[in-house]
Each structure stands twice: as C-alpha cells, then as structure tokens.
C-alpha cells in the first residue's frame, strides 16, 4: 500500500468509516452502549458462578492488556503467540486467518510501519469519558469469552521510494508515514488449557487522523483499506472483507 499515494488520492473507500472529527465519540458511544446491555444480561441469564466469571473476565482483560503492551513495545512475534490455532484478525478491510497470515500481519505489516504503539487520542477525537472502558462477556461454559476494548494507536507505513533520503531515514528507523487511529477491539477469546487465547480480533475503526504525539491539532484523513490479497500484496490479507 503506497501511503504517499493514498494520502493524496481518493483511494478505495470500500467500507470506510465516517472519519469526521466528532464521529469517534458518537460511534464509539453507541457501540459501547449496546455492549453494556449485553454484558449485563449475560451473567443473569447464564447463572455462571459470579466469582469464576469475574476471574475469567479479568483474565481476558489481562490478555488484552498484554496484547496492547506487546504491540506498544514492538514485540510482534510475541503478539502472534497470543492467538489460538486457526485464529482470525480483521484489520483495515482485510481478514488474516491462521498463524502464517497473522504473523504476516504483525511481523511484516505492523513491524514495517511500527504500528501498534499506544498513543493518546488525536485532539478533537477523544472518546466520550463516560463510555465504559471495556466490556467482557464470558460464556456459560467458561470456554469462550467476548470483549470490546477501545483502542488508540499509531499506525504507519514505510516510504518505499529508492531515494537515498528515504533509504537513510529507513535505516535509522524512520521514513515511515504515521497517523493515529482509534476505535474498538472486538475480541473473541478461547480457553486453551488454563489460559486464554485470542480466537478472533477485529479492529473496528472509528476514526483516523493525521496526528502524531506532540502535535496540538489533527484532521481526519482517509487511508484506503487493503485492496489486494496475499501474495499480490506481500503483506496483505487472505481475504478482503
């Protein structure tokens, strides 16, 4: 994906979110409200032992925190290890299924763009402080769980030109076009033995902005979704969704 082109061109707007300045608050708020209702009814209907369910819910929260922490530190290989067999990740309009594809997403696409660093929301795109921070719903049999967690991260894609300037910048770990995106992680987890693994993770994007830490302003930007699958795009998904 050529970001220099995508930032100036119209690109593929397939399933693009509303990238308006206030849309993050509105959409995230609506999504969270729905999840709160679901979680509240979840415990009462299933009759799962409350203590066990809380323990599982906390374990899922810890799993997600670990996921974000590893991404934040650029521990991409370790992130891959957090997924269950045949897991799926949906990111930027692409579905990555199975370990090989998930490794491609994290160890190639994310790593090349230093994507995943946790940064504060772009100015003007802050989530509603009253919305719930995260929601976890543990299934009655305590073998699966779903969760929704707001995310706010830096995304990047390396410049690919063969100029000396770009090569030098890349060599010193830069030459990456970076932006901010925020939304919700929609996660399905599965218990493997005594620990939890991620079975499905979807990045539900709400907003993208031309923000990097230190800036005082930001504007919404339009970055095209994946338009080619692997191997036509060497770091691309298995399927466009």
């Amino acid at each position: 994906m050529s970001i220099t082109k995508s930032l100036s061109g119209s690109g593929d707007n397939r399933k693009q979110p509303n990238t308006g300045r206030r849309s993050f608050i509105w959409k995230a708020g609506a999504a969270m409200s729905a999840v709160v209702a679901s979680a509240a009814t979840g415990f009462s209907k299933t009759g799962v032992d409350r203590a066990d369910a809380l323990k599982d819910a906390n374990a899922v929260r810890t799993l997600h925190r670990t996921y974000e922490s590893r991404l934040n530190k650029g521990m991409y290989e370790e992130v891959v290890g957090m997924f269950a067999n045949n897991a799926e990740v949906v990111f930027n309009g692409g579905l990555f299924k199975g370990e090989k594809s998930i490794r491609r997403l994290y160890c190639e696409f994310f790593q090349a763009g230093q994507t995943g660093k946790k940064i504060e929301p772009a100015p003007g795109f802050e989530p509603d402080p009253e919305q719930p921070q995260d929601i976890v719903d543990v299934a009655a049999d305590r073998k699966t769980a779903t969760g929704q967690f707001p995310y706010s991260m830096q995304v990047g894609t390396p410049m690919t030109e063969d100029t000396s300037l770009v090569k030098m910048a890349r060599l010193q770990g830069e030459g990456i076009v970076k932006w901010w995106e925020g939304g919700t992680h929609e996660v399905t987890c599965v218990k493997v033995g005594e620990s939890w693994k991620i079975r499905r993770l979807e990045y539900r994007l709400v907003s993208k902005a031309d923000y990097r830490p230190g800036r005082t302003h930001a504007r919404a930007i339009d970055i095209p979704a994946f338009s080619k699958v692997y191997p036509a795009d060497p770091a691309g998904p298995d399927k466009l969704v």
Partner: protein, 572 residues
C-alpha cells in the same frame, strides 16, 4: 607549477583494496612500536602505573616505562609490552597504542582532574571490509587507592552538534570539519584532496566537560581510516590520532597536535531537555560490540551496466508519476506557460523552440528543425515571472532530460541538461549548466547579462522539510559539494551523506542548485531555492534498478545557520 594538490580521483571514485586479514597483520606490525608524531610526546605518564576500570568493558592495567614504552594487561591477562604515544591537552592526557601481534589497540583519554576515563578500543577485521577500523567506547575511571569510584562519567553528547572547524595539524594537514549530526560528521580535506568535495563518516561525540570533547570519525565506504581527537573549544586546540590504511594501502598510525578555528554554529533542533546522552536510533543490533549507524550506499546501489539499465528502463519509465516522498510540500504546478511560444538560446549551446499546449503538455524542437516533439512537462513558479520546468527528450539515448529556468522579468534562461550515464557508471547522471536568453515576442533579452555560477550559498545550512515525516538538512559546505543529514524523530540529526553539486545565481536570494549522488545511486536533484519564501521546487532524475524516473520535489526550508568557509576555497 600548480601549488594546490588535487587527487587524480576523489575518494568516492577510488577502488580501495579489499585487504586480507594476513595483509593487515603484516602492514600493522610496525604499529607495535607505537604511533609517530611530529610534535614531542608527553612524558606525563612515564614511570606511572594505572588501573583503569570501565563500565561494561575491560579493566586495564598499565605500567608506563617511559614516554614511549608501556606494558598493558587487559582483564587480568598476561602483560604485553608495546610502544605508545601520549599527548596532553589542558587537563586531559590522551595516549594510544596497539597490542602487538593483534589487530587491536586502545586509545585512552584521562581527565587528570576528575580521574574519569574514556577508552576507545579499536580493531581491524571486524567488518566484511576488513580494513575498516572498528571501535567500541567504554567509560570509566582511574582507580585510586583508598578512594571511592567516582559516579560521574564522560558521555555521549549533542553539545557540539552543529559546530564547524578549520583545523591545521602539526603534520601540515588542513581540514574543514563539520558536525551537523550526533552520529556522523562531514569533512573537507583541504590539503590531501584540494578542498573540492565534502565527505561524510560515522562519528562519535563525547563530552568531557563544558569545553572539552572527544570526537572520532571512520571513513567507512572509503579507506576505513579513523581520525580521533580531543579538542578544547576555548582555544580551538586538538590532540589526536589517525589509524588505518590509506589509498596506497600504507599504514597511517600517528598522533598529532592541531590548532584551529571555530567556523560557526548551526542551530540544533532537539527539545531543550535533550542533551544527547542517548542516541534515539531505532536500529536493530545497536547493542552489539562495535555497532554504529553507518550509511553504506555502495552496497545499496551497486553500479549498473548499460544492459542492466536498459532492462530496468524497459520495465519501468516514470515521468512525473506523483506521490513522491520528496514532494509532500511541493509548490503548486504553474499554468504560466500555457499558450506561450518562445525560443531559449544558450551561449555556445543549443537553441530550442517551445510551444505549451496545456498544464502538462508541450511541444519542442531544435531551432531550425521542422518536426515538433511532444512531451509531458511540469512547471513551478518559484518567484514572480520565474518559471522552472522539466521534461524528457523522449527517444534520445543516452536518456536525457532538461530542467529549465525561465526568467521572464530579465529575459534570461538557465538549463541543467542531464543524461543518464557517465564514464564511471551507466546509471550515474552527468549534466551541465548552460546559460542563455529567452527570445519571445515583446521581450528583449540582455546582450551580456546572464545567470551565473555563485558561491553565495556556500557555508550556509538550510533544513528541508519534504513532508511531516521526512526532513533533511543541507550544508552547502564547498562551492562544488554539499552534505545532507536526515533528522531523527526527536529533532536530532542522524544519517548523513554528501555529493558533488553546483550552484547558480538566478536572482537575489534565488538559486539554482543541482547535485548528483555520485557516491550513491547516481541520481540527480535540481532545485530552485527561494530564500525569500524559504521554499524550493525542483526535479529528481535517475536511472536505477527501478527504471527511469523524472519526478518533482518540494520542501519548506528553515535557516539552520552559516559557517564562515568561503575564504578557504577558490583558485589561489
């Protein structure tokens, strides 16, 4: 007879021998006797014994027999006798020695007031180009009986980032040296190479105190020689050492004293609470012994043959493809030329007729030719009634393009006429500047006045912000070369390289500047610099493995300062 010494080939053209380990062993043997020096060595260490303790490095015991001989024991191993040399500068004594029958040596800077020490271990055969001197820096102290180890240490710094110097060693060697980076430096060899070109080397900058600093550079990609010295900024003096094999593969291992002059100070762009003690590089492997950030363009851009170039061009020719990384902040395209017809006539050069159909299409022909040729062009208007446009000469071999300045206010034109290919590389652009006049209805050009070469920019430094994530700094360090340095994310200056270049004066504060990355990918950049609006516009032209490319560029400038260097150049 010519007084100045110019090399037959400049450093980037020399094919340095790939010395073998055995050759280095043989050539290095005389170094066991210690370095030579034109000045008298110091005997401040004679008769003394020192135990130097370093953090994360060796403990080294020294016994100095006299001013020329020492014994050294590293980490408790058997003592070895070696020649050495020592020079003192104010409160710092610097001594250097190799370890006999090895390719390793030590360079030790002792602050006699604080007992703090910097040890720079050096060795050969540590990189695939075995002649390249490797180095590892250790910080520590001299152990003093019944005294606690000091907590302070010498350390990396950005406190001399941006400085520029003239140095003259006791050897008679004169250089200009610039520090527009915290990991690299650039230098002009006035004596050895005639002072025409600037070269860049990975470097270290270490602070001893507020006015004394240690500096080193290693001429990676070239001879691999290391130059290392401690300097005192208060009176611009240095004592140092040079180690390595020169272009004749002869060993250079000597110490020197030098006097100099501070030529200026560029702005530095780090946050005010960043003093450069940690280099914010995001590069893998930097914790390995000897690791340093080195730009190695020769490996990245091996010279292409004519056949390889032809094949690459056949696969891909990009004329103004858009989306260029160096055009994020480019000027708007200009429609000034649409509908115009005129002739540009260059002194002792070509004359071309032009007819501009629309914003991107033109027709041109040689004056007197009947056939018009259609080309895609792009044009900028960097100043009032000043147009800069470019286009290919399609179908011409070697591949050719022109970048033309049209100064309608003065009836003048300048052209950078370029083709892909030189006597060195099939993919290296060669070019010439030609100056002339515009012939157009209603415009009477001057008879004698022309745009002309200039040294007005020489010494100055401008940052160029191509996009929010790609910024570089140009230092226009000689009349025929410049260096560029890439900003790191925190505003510190990082990787650096240089190339030959030329400068022409178009108007007051407006310059035509062109360079070819000869020691790199052979590509050319040609820009109009407008210092009134601190913005440039221009064109890149290259033939690489990715094909033939003519593209636009544009960046915002900031003034980064100036070095007082013009007086060092020009025919004597």
């Amino acid at each position: 007879m010519a007084k100045a010494t110019y090399p037959k080939e400049h450093m980037h053209r020399i094919k340095f021998t790939k010395l073998t380990r055995e050759q280095i062993d043989r050539k290095l043997a005389p170094a066991a006797a210690g370095p030579k020096c034109m000045s008298e060595f110091s005997d401040v260490l004679g008769g003394k014994k020192l135990k130097i303790v370093t953090d994360s490095g060796p403990t080294v015991n020294y016994a100095f027999k006299d001013r020329n001989r020492l014994t050294v024991s590293v980490d408790g191993k058997a003592s070895v006798e070696s020649g050495y040399g020592a020079l003192a500068l104010e409160r710092v004594v610097f001594f250097s020695h190799m370890v006999p029958k090895t390719q390793t040596g030590y360079n030790v800077f002792i602050d006699l007031d604080s007992n703090l020490v910097t040890v720079i271990e050096v060795w050969f055969s540590g990189y695939k180009d075995l002649r390249e001197v490797q180095r590892q820096i250790y910080y520590g102290y001299v152990e003093v009986a019944a005294k606690e180890a000091p907590e302070e240490r010498h350390h990396l710094t950005n406190r001399i980032e941006g400085k520029g110097f003239y140095w003259k060693q006791d050897t008679g060697i004169e250089t200009l040296e610039f520090y527009p980076s915290i990991v690299s430096s650039s230098f002009v060899e006035l004596t050895r190479l005639g002072g025409e070109l600037t070269f860049c080397s990975p470097s270290d900058y270490i602070q001893i105190n507020d006015h004394m600093f240690i500096y080193d550079r290693t001429e990676c990609e070239f001879s691999g020689i290391m130059t290392l010295y401690v300097m005192d900024l208060l009176d611009a003096r240095q004592v140092g050492m040079r180690l390595g094999f020169n272009e004749k593969d002869a060993l250079e291992y000597y110490m020197f004293r030098g006097n100099g002059e501070i030529l200026g100070q560029l702005a530095i762009f780090e946050p005010f609470d960043d003093h450069g003690e940690k280099i914010p590089l995001n590069m893998p492997g930097m914790d390995q012994k000897g690791a340093r950030p080195v730009y190695r363009p020769f490996g990245d851009h091996p010279p292409m043959t004519a056949e390889e170039l032809e094949e690459a061009v056949r696969k891909n020719t990009s004329i103004f493809p858009g989306g260029d990384a160096m055009a994020g902040n480019r000027m708007e395209l200009s429609d000034y030329l649409v509908g115009k017809e005129f002739t540009v006539r260059y002194d002792d050069g070509p004359a071309w007729n032009y007819r501009f159909d629309d914003l991107k299409k033109l027709h041109w022909r040689e004056d007197g030719e009947t056939q018009w040729h259609e080309e895609v062009y792009e044009a900028f208007e960097p100043d009032k009634e000043l147009i800069f446009f470019a286009h290919m000469h399609s179908g011409v071999k070697p591949y050719e393009c022109v970048k033309i300045v049209l100064d309608f206010a003065n009836g003048l034109t300048s052209c950078v006429h370029s083709q892909v290919g030189s006597k060195y590389m099939a993919n290296e652009v060669s070019y010439k500047f030609i100056f002339g006049t515009i012939e157009m209805e209603g415009l009477t050009p001057p008879r004698y006045l022309r745009h002309t070469f200039t040294d007005e920019l020489v010494g100055s430094a401008l940052t160029w912000n191509y996009s929010d994530t790609l910024t570089s700094m140009h230092v226009y360090s000689t009349p025929h070369s410049y260096s560029w340095t890439i900003f790191m994310e925190n505003g510190a200056m990082g990787m650096q390289w240089s190339s030959p270049s030329r400068y022409a004066m178009i108007r007051d504060g407006i310059y035509l500047f062109s360079w070819v990355e000869e020691a790199c990918n052979g590509g050319q950049g040609t820009i109009i610099i407008n210092t009134k609006i601190m913005h440039d516009c221009g064109f890149g032209f290259s033939g690489t493995k990715d094909g033939l490319r003519l593209s636009t560029m544009g960046a915002y400038a900031r003034n980064a300062g100036v070095y007082d260097v013009k007086r060092f150049f020009g025919p004597e």
